[in-house]
Every structure is written in structure tokens, then in C-alpha cells.
Amino acid sequence: MASTLGLVLNFLIFPGLLFTAIVGLLTQWVDRKVSARVQWRVGPPWYQPFADILKLLGKEILIPEGAGRTGFLFAPLAGLAAVGVVSTMLWLANIQGGGFVGDLIGVLYLLTIPSLGMIIGAAASGNPLASVGASREMKLVLAYELPFIIAIFTAVTKVSPMTLRLDGILDYQAVNGVLLGNASCIIAFIVAILCAQAKLTYPPFDVPEADTELMDGTHMEYSGAALAVVKLSQAMMLFTLPIFFITIFWGGIVLTGWGILYTIIKYVIIVTIIVLIKNTNPRVRIDQAVRFFWGPVTVLAIIGMVLAMVGL
């Protein structure tokens, strides 16, 4: 019973929802600050993302006429919960070892729930522009999912004996050195970062939101606390994905001694890459995105996998 209570606390506070939300919002500040510097602006103070969420919580919630209310309000919550579970799984695998639901396939499926929630919510809003956004988001999921799976399973192939347990992958790296030391996993890592860009719907893959074209598309009808939940899960995703990549490819999180600094450096490097891609690329069309992911990116991912098969 005590362990269940501990787990609930883990999920609610550290390293689950609360911690993920706070660090995610801080990361979003880094994102905004770096973006501002790239564009020769000053950028917001560190507490700006928190202030934004707080402001949204105080606003009224508008529900569009004719919307499926339950789906509209409920779907983003499922996304929030799923990111929280993934974050808890990843951290506990890193700091406690096994014993929890620490399984790779579970992580991969849970990571699609925020997108799915957004799609259902947008579709339920009854707004035609949001519908277009939902259609695009689903196509984007299809597009990146193929290379993403191949990239993640490249790491699984390199681990011996093969395992789907997160702690098993970490143990292997602790003994045999990080997977990123292999040519195959470097390629897989690059592919995964490209897919993360689309998973976060960051430019150049912000097609579902496309603020200059669909006026925020999938997010269009959300307001007040509901929009706060949507923004919060995006921020949490921005924190969770780099942690996922660090766990799978880069030796995981170490919270003792110099490990803390090393972990933070790894995290900042990944976030910086994502932010720089975001700021230097214009938005593509959805068909270009699909062709990009199913074409060159998938080929790259397969090359990585083949390298892993021959032992590189």
C-alpha cells in the first residue's frame, strides 16, 4: 500500500505532473528567449509562461455552438494525463530501475495520445478550420510515426539481449557505454529529433496549427482553462521528449555528482537543436511533410537500422 501511495505521489508531484509542468514551462521560456535572440528581440522574463497559464485559468471558457462538449473538453485532459504517465515512467526507470510500467511500447503508444486528444478535441469543436487542422495533424502523425518507430527500434536492436524494458536499455548502456557511440544510433538519434519536431508541431511542421493560415487550427476554439491544459501538455511534451531520447540513446539521467551537470548539458543540447530548427525553417505544406518523412527520413532510418543489423 505504501508503494502505491508513493507511486501516486511520484505521479502527481515528482517526477510526474507538477514537476514536468514546471520544467516544461521553464523550457518553453528558454525556447522563447532563444527564439527572441535569433530574431534580435529581448524576449520575455523567465516567469512569462507561468504568467500566461495563470492568466488563462482566470478567463472564461467558451464552448462553440453545436460542439460535442464532452469530447471537446475531455480529450485534451487525456493528453495531459498521458504525458504525465510517460514522464513518470521515464524518470522512475532512470532513478529507481524497474518495477513500474517501464515499457518502451507503452511509452510509444502513450506519446501518441496527446496528438490523438488534440485531434478528437478539435474535431468535436465543430469548427471547419479546426477540422482541417485535425485532418492535418492525423496525417502528420502518420508521416512521422513510420521513421520514428524504426529509429527507436534501432536502439532496441543494438541492446543485447534485446529488451523493451527502459531499465534494461539503461543497464546495457551503463555497462557497455552509451548507444549514441554507435553509427547506427547516431543516425537514429537524428531521425528521432526530426520526428520530435513534428510531434511537438513546431515549425517547419506546424501545419495543423498554421497560425497564419488556419488561425491556430486544432487549438482554435479552445479558451480559458481548457486552453491552459492544451498549452500545458505542449510544454510537458517539450520536456518529456528530450528525456525520452536521453534515456534511449544517451545513457539516461544521473542525479549524483557531476552527473547532474552532464544530464543538464545533454538536455540543453537537445532542446537547443529543436529550438534552432524551429527558428530557421519556414512552414511546409502537409503533403511536403508526408513526403519528407516517408521519403528521405524513412530511408535514413532504414539505413540506421541496417547498420545496427550488421553490428555498427
Binding site: G68, A81, A123, I149, V156, A225, V290, W294
Partner: protein, 630 residues
């Protein structure tokens, strides 16, 4: 009378009575059907746990060999029998409301009862010849059953196509059984143990496998399922291709691959290839369908791929996953067809372009279809996720045993799952979400005989997902040698992975509650209903003109380079065995036919040429004789 005979005889007799009862008294017929099926279901439940049980009578003698009427209850057959009874009962209840007032349902209920009787017989028979007879009976009943559909033309086309394809696969099964008799001298399934090594045993196995996977609907023998989807009555779709044909086809495939034959890596690879191709091919076709029932039919095909793939791994966890997927698929696919039928009944159409915004009008149908859609997409914590997870784990275990190309199958299965999700987003969007069309203002929720089975099945999707250990320990693991590796805490613990569905579900629910708390802080009470925002303009009323239909949702995918030609070929039915067989036959017939042009001089010319050929042959024979004589 042996207990084993009840699930076969009771529905069979009830079906006969259904035909005898006068047309007018529909209520009596409905009660009789329900009672007969309920009896069969209860009998199946009572039988569960009583294995091994058998019933043997001498039947026919061929020379000095006797064929016995031989029924055997094993754990596996008892499990399949329970669910055959369960789905039969559900469909009967559903049909009460589905059949229109004018439709007396005389033949309909009789076929329904006979289907259950024949399925029970096929599951219980221990003799291959007996199995074949029940199997053939199912094919024949299906043909007549489908023809009770309202869209007569489509129904008849689909019925003919499935009759031909299933009939041919039955012929393959028959051929294999004849070979087994000749070579091994027995047809008792529990006495056979055939090592698949040489050409003869390989062909026997492949022929029997064709019989099994055609029934289940795997590629390349799948096209009868979508053809049925066009015109067959929806409950028939829910009963046969969605649930019972899956249970029977995969039951036979599993019996073949696990008990009767001892298959090697070669055959396993063949099964895995069939599975992976089926998953991807069928789901891609489903993505671009315009009719809800046809779309669901393609998914009924696609999901078979996971079962065949799982059985093909040959690893306990993979086999268990494949069999669990068989059960899960029957549950959610039946629920989905029921939902499609409810939509059809209440709105009169299943065309995706004509539907929209029914969530408010039909909330129960929406909820059950949404749950079933998430389950088929493999979203945790529903049941489809658990069985897919087990199949993936089986594949990874194969990889860890040195099969370096395991990832091709894994990626096919995983990506197929994403495509399934996309396809059901389209279903949910076009059917229930989006703006409610003004023409549906009067639409109401379906009546209780339709909603209750749907809700029960949707609840099962949750129960079998969250407490997956229960169905696994009760039904699946005991029949797969070496698959009982589940830990005590309700988690599924195998050598390559670990999944605790109850715990994950608990946390997700907790997270949703936290989110609701956030809503609470944001004063959900101060919500306000406003027009949708379309750029500042007031939306038109009714909003129908701005409705985005789900039809073109994935046109981008359809037009992607590389896939475009695949879809174009599929529309030409290049991948349809039935169609290609027909075309090949047609080429042959046409070439013969073109000779018959009705012009006398041509016929005379042919006659002269023929005469010349005969004379030439005779002469040459004569000359040879003369030469030989000298």
C-alpha cells in the same frame, strides 16, 4: 443426450422451428431465437471447465476404415464455444430492433440459429471430415444469410463472391484432408502429429492453412469480406466476418500450427509475411473508403494480420497475443459493426460523406463506438493494446533469438496500428463529431436491443484491457504451452517487457482528475456558449454548407508518390484473387469465343484446316508404319 450435443442440436432445432412458425407471429420467433441461443450459451458456459469431454459414435465405414462422429471438448474449444454462443446471443438481441417491421425475419432467424449450430459443431469436432462438413455448412448458410439483405443487388454480388471464394478454400481443405487420409490413415485431430518437412506435408499444411485464413479473411484471400460489407445486413457482418469467422478461422489455424502440424521456421516465416502484408495492405485500403461498412470490413481483414503474425512468431507470448487479439478483435469489431448498423438504422445511410455530428443525437452509440475505435487502434488502456503489445513482445523475442530482420514485421505491425488509428479518427469525425447537419435534427438514439449489446461489448473492451490478466489466465495462457508467465500483481511480465495495465489506467484516470481540477480552478461554471469562430464572420445557419466531410480526410496520403499507383491498382482490383481469377478465365473464354464469329466461310475454313490436320496425322502415321515395316 450428451451435454456436448446441446450447443449444436438446440439451435439447429430452434432454427427449423423458426421456419415452421407462421409468418405473422414475429414475436414468438424472436423469443424462440433468443431462448435457443441463450440455452446454447448457458450450455457452453457450463461446459467450460469440464474438459476433457468427448462424444463418439460410429458414423460411416469406408472399406475397413470407420469414420467416427467424434466431438471433443478441450480448453481451447470450450473457450471458442463460449464466445460463439455469446456473440450469437448478442446479435440475436440486436437483430430484434434492427429488422424493420415489414421484415418478418423468418429465414433470417433460422440462418442465425443454424450459423451458431454449425459453428459449435466445427469447434467441437475432433474429426477432420466432420469439421469439413460443418465448415461447408457455414459457407452455404452464409450465402443464404447474406441474401436476406435489403440492398438486393449488392447483397447478391457479395454473397456470390464469398460463396465462390469460401467454396474454393473449402475445396483446398477437402483436398488436404484427402491427402491426410491417404498418407496417415486417420482423420482424428488428436491422433495426428505431422512433421512439416517434405513437399507433401508442406502442401498439405499450406492447403489447410488456405482453408483457415480464407475463413478468417487474411490476404490474399480477403476480398470477399469488403464485398459482403457493401450489401449484407449489418448484424450478419457483425456475426460472421467480424466475430465468428475470426474465431473459427484462427481457431483452425492455431490448431493446425500448434497441435496437428509441427511447423518449422519456413512455414512460420510464411505466416508472418501473410500477417504483415495483411495488416498494412488492408488498412491502407480502409483509409480511403467512403462507406462506413466497407471501411469496417477492411479493418476486419487488417486485424487478422495481427493474429496470423502472432501465431507465426512461434514464441509463446506471440501466440498468446495472437489468440488474445482474436478474442479482442471479435469484441470491438462486433461493437463497431453494431454501431454502424445503429447509424444506418437511424439515419438511413452509412456513406461517410452524408454523415456528421451525430454525437449529441446518439450518445450511447457514440460512446461505445469511440471506446471500440480506441481499442482497435491499440490505445492503452483498452484491450487491443494488450494483445498488440504481446504480439510486439513476441517479435522482439524473435529478434533477441537472432532473427535480425524481426524489425520489418514489427514496424509493419506498429505502423499498421497508427494507420488504424487514423482510419478511426475519420470514422469518429465523420460520423459523430463536427457540426450536426440540419437534416439529422430529428435523429434519435437507437432502441435498447441495439444499444445494450453495444454497451456490453464496449465495457468488455475496457475490462479486458484494464484487467487483462483475467482473460489471459482464464482463456488464453493455458492453451499456449509455456505462456503462463504473468506476475501476481495483475501485470503482464515476459522476458522482454513488462506492462501493468491496471496501474497505468489508474494513473491516467488520476491525471484526468487533476486536469478536471485545473478546470475547476478556471471556474468551469463561467463557461459560455458562443458561435464557432471562422475568422470574424457569423457562421451561416444551418452550418451545413461549411461542413467538412471526412471523405477527403486522407487524400494527401492517397496522392503521395509511390502510394498513388498502389491505390490505382487496388481500384483496378489487381490484388483481388477472385477478380483476377475471373479475368484469367474470361481471357480463356473470350479467346475461344472470338473464334465463333458466325460466318460460314470461316467455319468451312476451320473444317478444311482440321481435315488437313487429320489427313496429315494419318498420313504421317501410315508412312511411319510403312517405314517401320520395311
Amino acid at each position: 443426450m450428451s451435454q456436448l450435443l446441446i450447443p449444436i442440436i438446440v439451435p439447429a432445432i430452434a432454427g427449423g422451428l423458426c421456419l415452421l412458425i407462421p409468418r405473422r407471429v414475429k414475436a414468438v420467433r424472436e423469443v424462440l431465437t433468443l431462448a435457443g441461443l441463450a440455452w446454447a450459451f448457458v450450455a457452453a458456459l457450463q461446459l467450460f471447465g469440464q474438459w476433457p469431454l468427448s462424444f463418439t459414435r460410429d458414423w460411416v465405414m469406408f472399406g475397413d476404415m470407420s469414420v467416427q462422429f467424434d466431438l471433443v471438448l478441450s480448453h481451447f474449444s470450450a473457450f471458442v464455444l463460449v464466445f460463439v454462443g455469446f456473440f450469437g446471443l448478442g446479435v440475436a438481441l440486436y437483430s430484434m430492433s434492427w429488422l424493420s417491421k415489414e421484415h418478418d425475419g423468418r429465414r433470417y432467424y433460422a440462418y442465425l440459429l443454424w450459423t451458431i449450430a454449425a459453428s459449435a459443431g466445427a469447434v467441437l469436432s475432433n474429426n477432420l471430415l466432420l469439421l469439413l462438413i460443418f465448415w461447408e455448412a457455414l459457407t452455404a448458410i452464409l450465402f443464404f444469410f447474406v441474401n436476406t439483405g435489403r440492398k438486393e443487388r449488392d447483397a447478391a454480388d457479395g454473397a456470390a463472391k464469398s460463396f465462390v471464394m469460401l467454396g474454393l478454400s473449402d475445396a483446398a481443405l477437402f483436398l488436404a484432408i484427402a491427402f491426410i487420409w491417404v498418407r496417415f490413415g486417420t482423420l482424428s485431430m488428436d491422433q495426428l502429429s505431422i512433421f512439416v518437412g517434405d513437399g507433401a506435408t508442406i502442401s498439405i499444411y499450406v492447403l489447410m492453412m488456405i482453408g483457415a485464413i480464407t475463413k478468417a479473411g487474411a490476404m490474399p484471400f480477403h476480398t470477399w469480406v469488403p464485398a459482403l460489407g457493401k450489401g449484407a445486413p449489418t448484424p450478419v457482418m457483425a456475426l460472421l466476418p467480424a466475430s465468428i469467422d475470426k474465431l473459427l478461422g484462427i481457431y483452425l489455424l492455431a490448431r493446425l500450427s500448434l497441435d496437428i502440424f509441427n511447423i518449422g521456421p519456413g512455414m512460420q516465416l510464411l505466416l508472418m509475411i501473410i500477417g504483415a502484408v495483411t495488416i498494412l495492405g488492408a488498412v491502407l485500403m480502409a483509409l480511403v473508403q467512403h462507406d462506413l461498412k466497407v471501411l469496417l470490413s477492411y479493418h476486419a481483414v487488417s486485424q487478422v494480420g495481427y493474429m496470423v503474425l502472432g501465431i507465426g512468431t512461434g514464441v509463446p507470448i506471440g501466440i498468446a497475443g495472437g489468440l488474445f487479439h482474436m478474442l479482442n478483435n471479435a469484441i470491438y469489431k462486433t461493437c463497431l459493426f453494431f454501431g454502424a448498423g445503429a447509424i444506418e438504422k437511424q439515419t438511413g445511410t452509412t456513406e461517410i460523406s452524408k454523415l456528421g455530428g451525430l454525437a449529441k443525437a446518439m450518445p450511447l452509440t457514440f460512446i461505445s463506438m469511440a471506446i471500440a475505435s480506441l481499442a482497435i487502434s491499440g490505445v492503452p488502456p483498452f484491450n487491443g493494446f494488450v494483445s498488440k503489445w504481446m504480439v510486439y513482445s513476441g517479435l522482439v523475442e524473435l529478434g533477441s533469438r537472432g532473427m535480425s530482420y524481426y524489425w520489418i514485421f514489427l514496424v509493419a505491425a506498429f505502423f499498421g496500428s497508427a494507420l488504424t488509428m487514423a482510419s478511426f479518427v475519420k470514422v469518429l469525425y465523420s460520423g459523430f463529431l463536427g457540426q450536426r447537419l440540419s437534416k439529422f435534427a430529428q435523429v434519435r438514439e437507437a432502441r435498447w436491443p441495439m444499444t445494450v449489446p453495444m454497451l456490453v461489448l464496449a465495457a468488455l473492451c475496457i475490462v479486458f484491457g484494464v484487467w487483462a490478466k483475467f482473460p489471459l489466465d482464464t482463456f488464453i495462457n493455458p492453451i499456449v504451452p509455456g505462456a503462463a508467465a504473468t506476475a501476481a500483481s495483475g501485470a503482464i511480465d515476459v522476458s522482454v517487457g513488462f506492462w501493468n495495465p491496471s496501474l497505468a489506467t489508474g494513473l491516467i484516470i488520476l491525471g484526468i482528475l487533476v486536469g478536471l481540477g485545473v478546470f475547476g480552478i478556471g471556474k468551469l461554471s463561467t463557461r459560455r456558449v458562443a458561435h464557432v469562430f471562422i475568422g470574424g464572420r457569423k457562421p451561416p445557419d444551418p452550418i451545413d454548407s461549411m461542413h467538412v466531410t471526412g471523405t477527403g480526410f486522407y487524400n494527401t496520403i492517397k496522392e503521395t508518390k509511390g502510394l498513388r499507383s498502389v491505390f490505382a491498382n487496388a481500384e483496378q482490383r489487381i490484388f483481388d484473387v477472385y477478380e483476377m481469377g475471373g479475368r484469367l478465365g474470361n481471357v480463356f473464354v473470350q479467346s475461344l469465343r472470338s473464334v465463333h464469329n458466325g460466318v460460314l466461310s470461316t467455319y468451312l475454313a476451320w473444317a478444311v484446316i482440321g481435315l488437313g490436320a487429320i489427313i496429315f496425322a494419318l498420313l504421317s502415321a501410315l508412312l511411319r508404319q510403312l517405314a517401320g515395316g520395311r
